[in-house]
Subunit: 361 residues, 2 copies
């Protein structure tokens, strides 16, 4: 399957390339910068840093893998590394890894000298379909996930689908949660494709994965191009995320993979949507739950608790949602499905109604 | 003297108001936000927080005064304060104080939930004429000054010149250093005004100060509007700053006030400009040195060393300049005066030539 090129028509325009073996193009595609430095983590760097073709002398900074690295202390260490390496305003930071490397590294590049270029080299399914595209950078605060960040677009994204073969099962599952979210945003074609290709997805068929990653990127790129700073339509991409962020925070960052929390969040959003009589397709929840089950993602809070040995008290989840970025005056705002590809934005409701749904899930 | 209103015609447009008693308008001019919180420092808040007219329940976070607070740890504490206070995306952070509060607070607002509004309430001469206008936010890294930040414009600036009466002599002097820099950027009219009004400046005549602050803001606003992210012309405003940043870093942040370092930096820039035969007005250095002397700002490195008990080795200063944000591939770039209001940008030179000038100063 040849490389697929998706343009994100923002100012400046950038491209997302999807295909096998793309990491090897990193060196040539970043050769015009005054200097380059690499940010990765201690799990990914030994696997793939050698594939980038960079000069031996290229300096690298490696994070400890996992969500717990996504904080201001690690950001500071990354910025001091960039300064020590002597990067100037015409230099570039290469971000090799999953969502943590991409989100923290994008923020470091956005802040360093008030902004230098960065290239996303996502190595997880979740990062390829979601976090590497669209320019949301962030670190977590103690008070909540992704509470400190900026919008800053990458200069280039190279999504090498060859890296997906080595993902552990849990990382892969986490990516499938975001893929399913994207399908509910994109529409029937992608959702039906996932349903018809369950076996190939489970086998990580390389051609199917390239097709699915590219379709997710196309969906996201189109939305981001219309609304880069989330003034409106981009909120669609937060489907399942108000639940997911609360779940991740209450469980402790890193205890439950982001995309798994998103997946369970999709099921919860559909329950809430049914209760509020917003959803118009009676079969939608069953379709989503069937895919979640096929992916090995819990469809209820109860199952999530058991699987990850987490408490996840409904009252605590509701308290955490009040601090969500999407909340207004302490009231969380939900994105809820009406139908495949059709979402209701900005839905507010009473804490008690929310707790009732969570108690029943 | 009535309030002076200067518009900064960026997108979105904002206004800088200059005049006595403006702090009292803070509450009414920020009443439309969903919530407000105050960032200030333990020196300024007791003097002026009460003048803002905010509701008693308004939450405040106070920094320790001084440049040593301008770091990522204090930024994190500020962000956690904002989250604890329950600020949402429609809230506003009020920044009451000098450059440290304004620079760090502007960055906190830019990062919190990927950006909320902030209002600058500058209480020092330096902040009123320079740092509160133009949207440069930053904190320092160990590796250098202002190395981590973003461009983000304030929603409003209220420069209450009534606060200048209580500045200590050193703070006032520091502001005059930036005023003099602005005059060299702006042109003959402002420079001649400073020369003719030395006595009123020394006496902190309120009408003269309002006039000078407004003229400095006009100069800066016009440049910032044409070049908000320093791709070109805005570099003019860095006159004296390559020297100043190195001086501040080598002396240890906070040991020498920023505007004092800038003032001495102007004299050094003129020496360098003479040596490189860039300056066209033979009398310019004498005029600048006479004003610096009147303000009580050292005109040589030797005098600066004596006054602040700092080492300031030329070789160390040169090493520090290589890390300056304006450096390209490790070579510092200077802004040097040709004449009043006429500057040469992007001047590079050998380390040895630079050290020679510093040795002689």
């Amino acid at each position: 399957m040849p490389t697929i090129c998706i343009a994100v028509p923002l100012e400046p325009r950038y491209e997302v390339l999807v295909g096998r073996g793309l990491l090897a193009e990193t060196a040539s595609r970043s050769a015009h910068y005054s200097a380059r430095a690499l940010l990765s983590d201690t799990h990914v760097a030994p696997l793939y840093a050698g594939a980038l073709g960079l000069p031996e002398a290229t300096r690298a900074h490696l994070l400890t893998p996992g969500e717990s690295s996504k904080n201001l202390d690690e950001l500071e260490r990354t910025l001091e590394f960039m300064a020590r390496t002597g990067l100037d305003r015409s230099a570039c930071l290469l971000l090799l890894g999953g969502g943590v490397v991409g989100d923290l590294g994008g923020l470091a590049a956005a802040l360093y000298m008030r902004g230098i270029d960065f290239v996303q080299l996502p190595t997880t399914l979740l990062a390829q379909v979601d976090s590497s595209v669209g320019g949301k950078t962030a670190v977590n605060l103690a008070a909540g996930k992704n509470l400190a960040g900026v919008f800053r677009q990458p200069a280039l994204v190279l999504a090498d689908t060859g890296t997906l073969a080595t993902l552990d099962a849990e990382e892969y599952r986490s990516g499938l949660g975001e893929v399913l979210k994207t399908a509910l945003v994109a529409g029937e074609a992608l959702l039906a494709r996932l349903e018809s290709a369950r076996a190939e997805l489970a086998a990580r068929d390389p051609d199917l994965l390239a097709e699915v990653v590219a379709e997710c990127v196309r969906t996201k790129a189109a939305i981001v191009a219309r609304d880069p700073t989330e003034k409106g339509e981009r909120a669609k991409l937060n489907l399942g995320h108000t639940f997911a962020h609360a779940i991740e925070r209450v469980a402790g960052y890193g205890a439950i993979p982001h995309g798994v929390a998103v997946g369970t969040g999709l099921a919860l959003a559909l329950r809430l949507s049914e209760r509020l009589q917003i959803v118009r397709e009676p079969a939608l929840r069953a379709r989503v739950e069937a895919l979640l089950a096929a992916f090995g993602i819990p469809t209820t809070l109860a199952a999530l608790r058991t699987r990850y040995h987490a408490q996840l008290e409904p009252s605590e989840l509701v308290r955490s949602m009040r601090l969500d970025k999407k909340s207004v005056a302490g009231r969380p705002r939900f994105v809820l499905p009406r139908a495949v590809g059709e979402l209701a934005l900005g839905i507010e409701l009473e804490d008690s109604a929310l707790e009732t749904v969570l108690e029943a899930a």
